[in-house]
Subunit: 367 residues, 2 copies
């Protein structure tokens, strides 16, 4: 892993790397999906053996906050006496379900899109996503006035597909497997020349996601712990970086469905163990950690909590009934985890990032 300075200068166009300084070099020679993303230089044309992981840091998150500020919402923080009584903790809900596009994903996608040079941006952007990242990228691309191509599994919720379509994205359907997504995306990238903006395994996306925690720390001082959902790990990574830099004593926890517990198993094993086609109602958390998010979470998060499907639905219903807000299953996972492990949170001030609110209102899990 490289240090702060290197990571920073690598942020746009990797100008610290000799190969990137060559005239006309646009980074594709490095077979990098995106300048500033996970850099596996072992694969370069020059036969370099070292492996570089560009870890974003607090400076990157602050820069992201500046960059995306004009476009995104500073979301409110809600509290709920009934849920405080139920958990024995003091809960502070950071409402990213109120974010533009209905999810925190708009932060990361907007940071990535507005980090692109004019030349890069003119090629358009592309991604694969189960939903919220697709809609977020489509929205960010619309703000920048460039095309967006999104590969979505045919099982993605209609509401998320509609959101991407509403921003004018070109939507390409695929089978709901990682292999299918990647194959279809590769074809799209080849055909369009668009820049790939990964849903989570990307330093700029992670820095963007970290801005929610930056805000929360300003809004609620003295948090003892923060719990976020963990799917691909972008939100947990950004959150951990912001939290540990500003308040090292704060516990940073991820929460995931027991049916998609790759983060839990990966941290235990010390290597990435992806979930194979996991079946969970939390459609945003079916993805598995990437190389970069695994490295950050392993280094900076304090643990992963898992929760069964019933617990997720119960927490979701509590948020709707008691807090009176629309939260999607994935966004309800942290509350579910706190409820299931309430003895660990007694009397603590606990931040919870409600990651999104994009739900098909005709198909509610308790009906």
């Amino acid at each position: 892993m490289i240090g702060v300075k290197q990571a920073r200068s690598a942020w746009r166009g990797c100008t610290n790397d000799p190969e990137r300084r060559q005239p006309g070099g646009d980074g594709r020679a490095l077979s990098l999906p995106l300048p500033g993303a996970v850099h596996t230089l072992a694969k370069t044309t020059h036969g370099l053996q070292r492996i570089l992981l560009i870890l974003p840091n607090l400076v990157d998150i602050r820069a992201a906050a500046q960059r995306i500020g004009p476009f995104i919402h500073r979301t409110p923080v809600l509290t709920c006496t009934a849920l405080d009584e139920l958990t024995g903790a003091q809960l502070f809900f950071k409402c990213e379900n109120f974010q533009k596009g209905g999810a925190f994903k708009t932060r990361g996608a907007t940071n990535a899109v507005f980090s692109l040079t004019e030349a890069e941006a003119s090629r358009g952007v592309a991604t694969h996503s189960s939903g919220n990242h697709a809609a977020a990228l489509a929205m960010a691309a619309k703000w920048r006035g460039i095309p967006a191509h999104v590969v979505m599994p045919r099982t993605a919720p209609q509401v998320k597909r509609n959101a991407a379509a509403a921003s004018g994205a070109n939507i390409i359907e695929c089978e709901p497997t990682l292999e299918a997504r990647e194959a279809v995306l590769a074809k799209v990238l080849k055909e369009t020349g668009a820049i790939f903006v990964p849903p989570y395994n990307d330093a700029r996306v992670i820095a963007g996601q970290g801005t929610a925690m930056l805000e929360l720390l300003e809004q609620v001082p003295g948090l003892d712990a923060i719990v976020t959902p963990v799917g691909g790990g972008g939100l947990l990574s950004g959150t951990a970086i912001a939290a540990k830099a500003l308040k090292p004593g704060m516990k940073v926890l991820g929460a995931e469905p027991a049916a998609a517990d790759d983060a839990f198993r990966s941290l235990q094993a010390g290597r990435i163990l992806p979930s194979e086609n996991p079946q969970t109602i939390a459609d945003g958390l079916r993805t598995s950690l990437g190389e970069l998010t695994f490295a950050i979470i392993r280094q900076q998060a304090d643990g992963i909590l898992t929760i069964d499907e019933q617990g997720i639905v119960q927490a979701m219903r509590l948020l709707w009934e008691r807090v009176k807000i629309v939260v999607e299953p994935s966004g309800s996972v942290p509350l579910a985890a706190v409820l299931a492990h309430r003895q660990s949170f007694t009397k603590l001030r606990v931040g919870i990032i409600l990651s999104g609110g994009n739900v098909d209102l005709r198909k509610l899990p308790w009906m």
Copy 2:
């Protein structure tokens, strides 16, 4: 109508009235349902012919804000770009669906309960209500440590019945007609000796409801208009008093279902024309104006907008899908009215009071 000073001194125990000064007089000789409520002195035992209406004013609303401050939420104000685009206005949603008990009703009920003398309070309180006022009164009574008896129509939503029960209220079922409610309530009052806290036709309840507008005016300066739902008229009355006292140029509008348009018809006719057993999804707006709310609304509100059932459901769904909040049908009526009359609101800064969020999540109107 009497002036400010009289109304104020009449606020607790009517000590300005000779009859009320008699030792041991508790006001029941006046056949008043509640000290400080609508006073029809023509009915007194001494044969007085004058009719007094105690109109609350800004001073009362400020006093109510002080009184209820320790118990209720200062609710947030949300905005939504998508709905601004849809209406052509700038909308500011005052989220009383986030209020304690899930509705603004907690403001009025708490003000009434904490306005009672110790002697009055010790007798307990009682009311009839289709739901939110019942739950609110039960909660306020619990805070004061006194019993609450609530008469509810058997058609009241289960979620509202549960809320009243959760606060320990004694719930008495009745047929869903005004006559049945009043007859059953009279029986309860006689049997228990409890003090009647009306759902809307009460100066202290109205003053409490006005505190939402007081907050909104602090939170959002420069509003051009405010739209609230109107059922019995308590919220619209309190809102009009606060708005016109602090910002006389602001338009104050009520919104009601076309299927329960008693406020619209009453204002046109110049006398109260109740709706007879109206059929609307907006269960909180099936009641009709009272003597006091009619007088205030006639004097201080600028108009009533009506909206059909389909428009209410559409607005409710927009609030859930776009603003990501749980709002009940009654609370969605003002947005529905603004959407239906959008040409009147173009480019205006419009406050909308989302009156409540108590919905049976298993029975959503679009399913």
